[in-house]
């Protein structure tokens, strides 16, 4: 039991430690939250200087927008409350029920008379999308999808041109 055994002991300890780091190495640091939501700023649709953000109370927005050109509603099976769709000529506004209130669920731009606050409109090119937002959001097929906080901005492409611009609420899954 001299220094040699102390050395043996120490090397056993190191071996055990190595085992630990080898096994424990696969452990991922537990960070939470969607990184994209931390990028600062937010995605909102601006209509005549009025901010229309997802999940916001729809009542004041609807009041400011005035009479829609058309309106449809849909109940979900077995539940109270209606999903409502308002059409204002150049865009659709969807709401979902949340208790007593209706909240903004989706805004869909219909034609090139409107553009996003960042300046993107239907008919714009792929390059314009990438320079206005980023190339990162490309889904590899036909759309660019960007999520920040409560909102997902979906830009659908057809023949390399923007064919649809949609703001949608993000629900936790």
């Amino acid at each position: 039991m001299k220094k040699r055994s102390l050395l043996v002991f120490a090397s056993l300890m190191i071996a055990a430690l190595l085992m630990l780091t080898a096994c424990g190495g696969s452990k991922e640091p537990e960070t939470s939250g969607d990184d994209s939501s931390d990028q600062g700023g937010k995605l909102v649709f601006l209509y005549k200087d009025m901010e229309i953000a997802m999940k916001e109370d729809a009542a004041p927005i609807l009041e400011a927008l005035g009479e829609p050109k058309s309106y449809t509603e849909a109940a979900s099976c077995a539940f109270e409350g209606l999903d409502k769709t308002y059409y204002y000529g150049s865009f659709y506004l969807y709401t979902y029920p949340d208790g007593e209130k209706d909240r903004v669920n989706m805004v869909v731009l219909c034609d090139d008379t409107l553009s996003t606050p960042e300046g993107l409109a239907i008919g714009d090119s792929k390059e314009k999308v990438e320079s206005t937002y980023s190339a990162d959001g490309y889904n590899g097929v036909n759309a660019y999808v960007y999520t920040k906080g409560d909102c997902t901005l979906t830009i659908i492409m057809e023949n390399d041109k923007v064919s649809s611009i949609q703001y949608g609420a993000v629900f936790e899954s």
């Binding site: 055994s5 102390l6 055990a16």
Partner: protein, 522 residues
């Protein structure tokens, strides 16, 4: 697998049947297997940490033990050839080797613990994000790490001090480290206390099993009906707008939550162990009836503070440099100077305890406040005694109650730091107690906006009254023993009511935020 889950009950049921049906010789093996199965439910990725602590403790304790034996044998063999000085030198050398081994194991394990606390818990990130939620609940440490590590390291030091024997069977040590009832949140057992009942054979004892189950039931009641229900309001009351009297209410609510949650969890752990014939140490002794803060810490999380005292406070305050310091201090500053080592020991103990809870400034503040209050109250003791010898209180009971309430409030003021990682917020809220007198929150509807309905408050009130009543009955000895004296129909009636109270009134499942036991993240 949470204790409060059907899966756990199935697991425990199977274990109990096997435990008493199979040969009693292998009971401890069964416990080891069960403990590892239990741990695996939390995820295999945490297992290496547990195994590492076990292996390193095994290697350390066995090295120390063999080293001691070998040196003893050598001295015995060579006793005629060695001079007194030689023997002394040899002994010192052998002790040094043991110390190096012990320190090596200690340092590596503590480093791992610190590393995990610092990186996995991620306090800085959470602070940066302005996270105001219960910091207890957001940590992500390997399950029960602080508890099993303290238990193992305590054992290692005991072996070094020759107060415990090194276990030759690594699997027995593995069981001591991982024994599942206490793995999650304590209590932290001392090896010599636990050894006997953990490894011996246990015959089927109906009374012990019934008592164990009853203890578990009481724990579930405290945890699920009281703690988890009030948790919503505790969360809500941390909002910026709740100051003054609202902060006072938060203090009271948090005191209820913390006690019901933590002591409930311990009741469950002790109850499970009792069902298996194993006796775990008590961790609470009616802490809210303490007369002063030092008294409180002899009654709250008892095993942690015994550990701290045994392995940090005493070694520091009686170490050679400290004794020298004491002598020097006495010469220069008299009685106060003599006590310097005690202050240093107390300070380091509390800082250690604070950091053990996590790398947050508010935990450090928590340790610091405890330290200050204890030192001040110790220092004032002679003055108190002098005062009492001159002024005698005609109403002794009244004074007792005053002391209890004072200690309760002071402790709440310290414990509530847990909720405020941002110290400025904490100080702001405490200060608001002196100038915001918003008593109207009691009747202006504020109380119903905290996520609790009128029914919830009634349930909570009943729960707290019951907890209080049980504490009072406890003064006359074991509640369960006393219950045996009442007619069986009434006794069964009470148990049925308790079981269905937990099932119906417990806060669990979808719709509830199943808050993990507050203490299992340390």
């Amino acid at each position: 697998m949470s204790f409060a889950s059907v899966t756990f009950f199935v697991f425990l049921g199977i274990l109990i049947i096997l435990y008493y049906a199979l040969p009693h010789k292998i009971q401890w093996v069964l416990l080891l297997v069960a403990s590892y199965v239990f741990y695996l439910f939390a995820g295999w990725k945490y297992l290496p940490f547990l195994v590492f602590t076990t292996i390193s403790t095994y290697l350390g304790t066995n090295y120390i033990s063999r080293n001691a034996e070998a040196s003893k044998a050598y001295l015995e063999r060579e006793k005629d050839h060695l001079s007194k000085e030689d023997k002394k030198a040899y002994r010192a050398q052998a002790k040094k080797r043991s110390r190096i081994a012990m320190i090596l194991v200690l340092v590596v394990n503590i480093a791992i613990l610190f590393f995990c606390k610092a990186l996995l818990v991620d306090p800085f990130l959470s602070l940066a994000k302005g996270n105001t939620s219960l910091s207890f609940l957001t940590l992500g440490l390997p399950m029960g790490m602080s508890f099993y590590m303290f238990q193992s390291l305590g054992y290692l030091i005991d072996v070094y001090r020759d107060k415990a024997k090194a276990l030759k069977n690594p699997f027995k040590l593995a069981l001591f480290v991982s024994f599942f009832p206490q793995l999650v949140q304590g209590p932290i057992s001392q090896f010599t206390e636990l050894e006997e009942s953990l490894f011996s054979e246990h015959a089927f004892d109906r009374k012990q099993i019934a008592f164990g189950l009853q203890r578990m039931l009481w724990g579930f009641f405290k945890k699920m009906v009281v703690a988890d229900r009030i948790a919503v309001a505790v969360q809500a009351l941390q909002g910026e707008e709740y100051r003054g009297f609202a902060f006072f209410i938060l203090m009271i609510f948090f005191a209820i939550q913390l006690y019901a949650d933590f002591s409930g969890g311990i009741d469950i752990a002790i109850g499970i162990a009792q069902v298996l014939g194993v006796k775990l140490p008590e961790n609470f002794n009616r802490p809210y009836f303490s007369r002063n803060i030092a008294d409180f810490w002899r009654r709250w999380h008892i095993t942690l503070f015994q550990w701290m005292k045994r392995y940090i406070f005493y070694p520091i305050s009686v170490s050679k440099p400290m004794l020298n310091l004491s002598l020097k201090g006495r010469k220069k500053f008299g009685r106060f100077g003599m006590r310097i080592p005690v202050y240093i020991g107390t300070f380091l103990t509390w800082m250690g305890t604070g950091i053990w809870h996590g790398f947050h400034w508010h935990f450090i503040l928590w340790g610091f406040l405890n330290c200050i209050f204890i030192v001040v109250s110790e220092e004032l003791t002679p003055a108190y005694e002098k005062f009492h010898s001159r002024v005698s209180f005609s109403n002794k009971k009244g004074y007792d109650i005053f002391q209890i309430i004072r200690t309760f409030l002071l402790m709440n003021l310290i414990q509530i730091t847990d909720l405020f990682p941002r110290l400025s917020e904490y100080f702001g809220k405490v200060a608001s107690l002196t100038y915001v007198f918003n008593f109207h929150i009691l009747w202006d509807g504020t109380m119903t906006k905290l996520g609790l309905t009128g029914t919830d408050y009634i349930i909570l009130l009943c729960g707290v009254v019951l907890m209080f009543a049980v504490s009072m009955i406890q003064r006359k000895g074991s509640v369960r023993e006393q219950m045996l004296k009442i007619p069986c129909v009434i006794r069964y009636g009470i148990l049925f009511i308790m079981i269905f109270a937990v099932i119906l009134l417990g806060s669990y499942g979808i719709g509830y935020d199943a808050s993990a036991f507050i203490y299992n993240q340390f």
